[in-house]
């Protein structure tokens, strides 16, 4: 309780720079509820300033990402589903051959082509974890967060959309988009 209050104060005074966020931590009065839902503890991470936006510079898992696995997560409708909104030109040939798996790529968000030229690896990690830290009004879900959400459906309560390793795997794919 105290720590979360301090974190809140810190957040409002200092802003997000250098703030240590521990999304898995719940306030004391929520302990009972959290226990019942038994969510897997989220990896904590540190947010710092990147050249363009905020960033998480350290790997969430300490393990190298697998870019082939990342690509699978990105097209999986129940996981990253990145192509629901983003075009990835590099995958278009594959999509033409396997339209069921890749479906049509959406046009809501900017194409991911050249993403690694626009943002650092740490910034891309931040966008995957919770894009709202950098862009508060975005439609983009936070893929590695489980806190401060409203009316989450039972089976997703306390869970993140993708795992910390999924984030690293997708990142391994994204950094190839120069």
């Amino acid at each position: 309780m105290r720590l979360s209050r301090i974190a809140f104060l810190f957040c409002s005074i200092v802003g997000l720079t250098g703030l240590l966020i521990q999304p898995g931590m719940a306030a004391g009065h929520k302990k009972k509820m959290m226990k019942k839902m038994a969510p897997a503890a989220l990896v904590s991470y540190k947010i710092s300033d990147g050249p363009a936006i905020t960033a998480i510079n350290k790997s969430l898992t300490g393990k190298a990402g697998d870019k082939a696995a990342g690509e699978k997560t990105m097209v999986n409708k129940k996981k990253g589903n990145c192509i629901a909104c983003h075009v990835i030109t590099k995958l278009k040939a594959k999509a033409a051959k396997n339209p069921k798996k890749y479906s049509q790529m959406g046009l809501i968000a900017p194409p991911l082509d050249g993403a690694a030229s626009r943002y650092t690896e740490g910034e891309l990690r931040m966008l995957l974890v919770n894009a709202k830290v950098a862009f508060p009004d975005t439609i983009m879900p936070g893929f590695y967060r489980a806190d401060n959400l409203t009316r989450v459906m039972g089976k997703f309560k306390g869970k993140t959309v993708i795992s910390a390793q999924d984030v690293e795997n997708i990142l391994a794919f994204l950094v190839t988009l120069k």
Partner: protein, 274 residues
């Protein structure tokens, strides 16, 4: 003199007809309803605009519309006696074609005894339980869908006409709040898809403005008609939010607000959507 008047009249009639043809009323299908001033949508479009051509054709074809089965059932139920009072809708409301004209365009309305809103389906069920002493129909029943379609269809071509007044304003406000509130694991509000990105592709689907001028709609995905209340649940589930119950205060308030957003759009029940 008589001839002159006749000619002048003919000229007047002709010019009125011609100006009418030249200024075809915006229907939200090929031309938008244009809003000026304080409205979240400068242009209002029916979901029809974002459907595939063959889906539009299925809706437009009077004989091919797959919701016809339900419409016909609704028409039959209108005059069918039911309940311990052995009454039919017709006995109080006479010919639906006259009495139900325009009703759908102004629902949900404030219902004093409930001190809150009532939507069309709830109104039909209230008539059944209160006056016919018959059982309320279930939300997804063919009977309720059929009757609601039959009633709503009588407003076809008429503009959505929600007037915000002292009575419904608090509920309109709640509906609006719901519309802009992020929810679910995916943390999205109605406004994200239906205000910010309508007309754009979400994977293979084109996002619409989420208008309800065609509800109950025949949804190809459902293989049957469904209410706007059912659609709300689907939307909530898609963002991984716990849905409310059909007919809940939250959804009926939202229904009012959503219909208000579509003010001016001609009614087109039963619409056909993907």
């Amino acid at each position: 003199m008589g001839r002159f008047i006749k000619m002048a009249l003919a000229g007047l009639v002709a010019s009125v007809l011609m100006s009418g043809a030249a200024m075809a009323a915006p229907d939200g299908k090929s031309a938008p309803i244009v809003n000026k001033g304080d409205h979240p949508l400068p242009e209002v479009w029916s979901g029809y605009k974002y459907s595939k051509v063959d889906t539009q054709a299925t809706q437009d074809d009077e004989f091919e519309n797959p919701a016809n089965l339900w419409t016909e059932q609704g028409e039959a139920l209108w005059s069918k006696k039911d309940g311990s009072e052995k009454k039919a809708c017709q006995e109080c409301h006479n010919d639906a074609k006259a009495s139900m004209k325009g009703v759908a365009t102004r629902y949900p309305v404030y219902y004093k005894p409930w001190k809150k809103l009532i939507n069309l389906e709830q109104r039909i069920n209230l008539c059944r339980t209160k006056f016919m002493k018959a059982k309320a129909y279930k939300w997804k029943s063919n009977e309720l869908l059929g009757l609601t379609i039959y009633v709503a269809k009588q407003s076809n071509g008429m503009p959505q006409a929600i007037e915000v007044n002292a009575q419904n304003k608090p509920f309109w406000e709640k509906g609006k709040e719901h519309y802009y509130k992020r929810r679910g694991q995916l943390d999205m509000a109605c406004a994200h898809c239906h205000e910010k990105y309508f007309g754009q592709k979400l994977r293979a689907n084109t996002l619409t403005q989420g208008q309800n001028n065609g509800f109950p709609t025949y949804r190809l995905k459902w293989g049957k008609p469904g209410s706007i209340q059912r659609r709300f649940k689907g939307c909530n589930k898609q963002v991984r939010a716990k849905p409310y119950k059909m007919g809940s205060d939250e959804y009926v308030n939202l229904e009012l607000y959503v219909r208000w957003r579509g003010n001016g759009l001609p009614n087109e029940t039963p619409s056909v959507r993907p």
